[in-house]
Amino acid sequence: MLDAMLYALPFLMEGLWVTIEVSFLTVSISLAVGVVLGVALIYGPLPLRLLVRLFSDTIRGIPILVLIFFVYYGFPAIGIDLASFWAAVTALTLFKTAQVIEYVRGAVQSIPQGQTEAAMAIGLTFRERLTNVIFPQAMRRFLPPWINGVTDAVKGSALVSLLGVTDMMYSINQVIGRTYEALPLYILGAAIYFIINYSLSALSRRLERRFSFVQA
């Protein structure tokens, strides 16, 4: 069992790198775009709000798998022909962005209106209010579901193997395809995914502690 795992380890490294790449791209892009769209959803003019709402509801109603295949096979119809890696990243990012929009909305809307008013009263502009008063408080409610989403993204990145992208899941199957020894490899794979996500959870607990202060 153990030597099967040790044998497989180097072959999994490249796949592991792809998994990390996919997860990192998905999480960072969805965070950046999601926060902007989330703010637009709360503070923007009506047409923009409707658009973001439509986007978020539509994407969240489609299973990720369907989304992946839709981007890979469907997008060429509107002129966007993506290689499998980028199609998978795009689909995963779209999915996560919709989720981030909802986390942002929930977190910001849970802050009492009085906070915005007090910030206005001392003469802060919209951007200053968001940066210094709203977001620091929203962080506390934003972080737990978001961190959850991050670990989901890492786990969900395994779906890219269905487009033939050589992530860690696919690498595992490649070695099994050669040696036919499934069990040691699945255990090894689970262990690696676990290590990644456990570190992320530990990091998240530290982050949450930093942003916890008793709300008045």
Binding site: F11, Y73, L162, G164, T166, Y170, N173, Q174, I176, E181
Partner: protein
Amino acid sequence: MTADRRDFLRLGAVGMAAAGLSGGGLVLSASEAAAQSAEGSRLRTVLDRGKVIVGTGSTNAPWHFEDEAGKLVGMDVTMGHILAKALFDDENAVEFVLQDPAQRIPNVNTGKVDIVVQFMTMSGQRAQLVNFSRPYYVEGVALISTPGTDNNDFSKLLAAGSGATVAILQNVGAEESVHEVLPEAKVMQLDTQANVLQAVDSKRADAAVVDLSTVKWLVARNPDRYYDSGKQWHTQLYGAALKQGDLDWLHFVNSAFTIAMFGHETALYDEAFKKFFGATPPARVPGFPTI
């Protein structure tokens, strides 16, 4: 393109020019002639591109898998190299796109790949969705066991009657498949190929029903671990899949395969056949064509 090919085309051009002059007809250049015959065809696209894009997998030995050095090899992969050689006289002018088996038909029909060579069984249903090339291998089904199992030979399994347990990948015709040759055996259906072999390894099953090529591959690789029970049945044809409606491309692929299997370019095919199945194709006999 090699010098030979260029010269050949030039000769052809000159020849055609001469014919045209003497015939009083139009003078065509070689590439125009080729374009005329293959306009709108994938063959033209591939030739212009300079490499052929083949959709295949990388998780199933001996068809398409990564060897110890990380290189993509296998019988399906070899067919891709054969195509490249026929197109460009360079077996490496091929790009392999890895895909999940579920993507075999979608990827070729949407043009993501030029051709799919991925241990695809030719069936009436599938033939309605894609054009199959001529078959390049006839797969069968066989029994595999271990050297240490008591009932590892087919005769012993048959004699054991209901005392024999046979593992097989779960699917619609699984029970019938086993009972065709071992009518009284107990059938153990499992969810993945790897688990099926795991059952044999751990002797929970006396034998397993797997692809004949898999049996050959595993026994050749691990003779102390696996044992060929010596029974094979069923035949299924493996063909490459192409998008429908492209006669020139389909005929080209067929010609390339036929030449590689029966004609004068059999080196690549035979080498792979030996390496992956441990066998040699029957001798090719001049005279009456049996293909």
